[in-house]
Amino acid sequence: MADEVILLDFWASMFGIRVRIALAEKGIKYEYKEQDLFNKSPLLLQMNPVHKKIPVLIHNGKSVCESSIIVQYIDEVWKDKAPLLPYDPYQRAQARFWADFIDKKMYDTSRKTWATKGEEQEAAKKEFIEVLKTLGGELGDKPFFGGDNFGYVDLCLIPYYCWFYSYETFGKFSVEAECPKFIAWVTRCLQRETVAKALPDEKKVFEFVSVLREKIRVE
């Protein structure tokens, strides 16, 4: 029986991109359904009644929500190809820790670099750079967070990269100047076809963020 896989997603969502990369890594055919987040579809509301958010993976009619959980599900179901999480339970716990750190720290901090101004924005920029430096510390001299191979933590983090141009432009700072090693890791990830294809154009994201800023009246 062929698997039916549907992804409810939004093109610019860094959480949705995680799932797209995971599906691509595993070579899974799926139907992509773009969602209007300002006018949520009955399907989205039915499949994620608790949070009403994307991404949602619908596998043979059953929904899985929350991007980190979806990626782990994909890794477990399609386990014969391209493992994302390590085999060793301790390494797996470490991978989950860093994915959780990314979830706790990246979104709110990065959002403030474009959604706020003045002192609040300055504080957010400092904190954002600190977060990247902490992640850089964890990366160390490894090519990827997963070690020699692209893995779960790399996949959870790299989608943010298409938003960096927006953070840097509105926040007036340069990630490369502050964290060159981080950008070296980005470059390695982008050499991967699954990643390069999944990330939208950063200029398109910038246009989208500009519209969002107007909506929330930042200026």
Binding site: V50, I69, Y73, A93
Partner: protein, 220 residues
Amino acid sequence: MSKGEVFLLDCWASPFCLRAKIALAEKGVEYEARAENLFGGKSDLLLKSNPIYKKVPVLLHDGKPLCESTIIVNYIDETWPSPPLLPSCAYERAKARFWADFIDKKVFDAVCNIWKSKGEVPETAKNEFIEILKQLEGALGEKDFFGGDSFGFVDVIAIPLTCWFYAVEKFGGFKVENECPKFSAWMNKCMQRDTVARTLPDPEKVYEFVITLRNMFGIE
């Protein structure tokens, strides 16, 4: 059953530490709990083992640190597989992780919003707390436990938070039993379990601890 040396950096009232303790008890793993004085100064071991958050719990397995309670419980389940806490089916596992994540995002913050209130607890704080429990009742459905017939991962994640509910009820002027009887029934079923009953502190003691916290934060 031995599989190396296990320590837990702990605080008796922390629902997050209690999760790890219940999981270890369920697996019959012997461990040593080391109490951290969170107000008097954190130990060098804690600061070295959890440099990112500097928080308890930290599980040390053969000297290797693990942080964040849900991740610790997951690790305990994978390292000592019997009896299993997470379901064997990938979809059910994803559902269990979803509800554990929901509990992590919502419950303790709602608990704190109530006991941290100055003066009368706002209706919004009470309603939000009750709404969250009602959503969990929805997830429970007609099952005995979140895990189904057996006590499992989500039950381990959720039950320790309930020893703070007495304090919440006292400050909020309501009873979980009246507002969410199904949830209350689930709490009672869990408390019949030896591993839970032996591990959870007396809610009255937690209430006294919360009063101490309120005094420390200058909340009247």
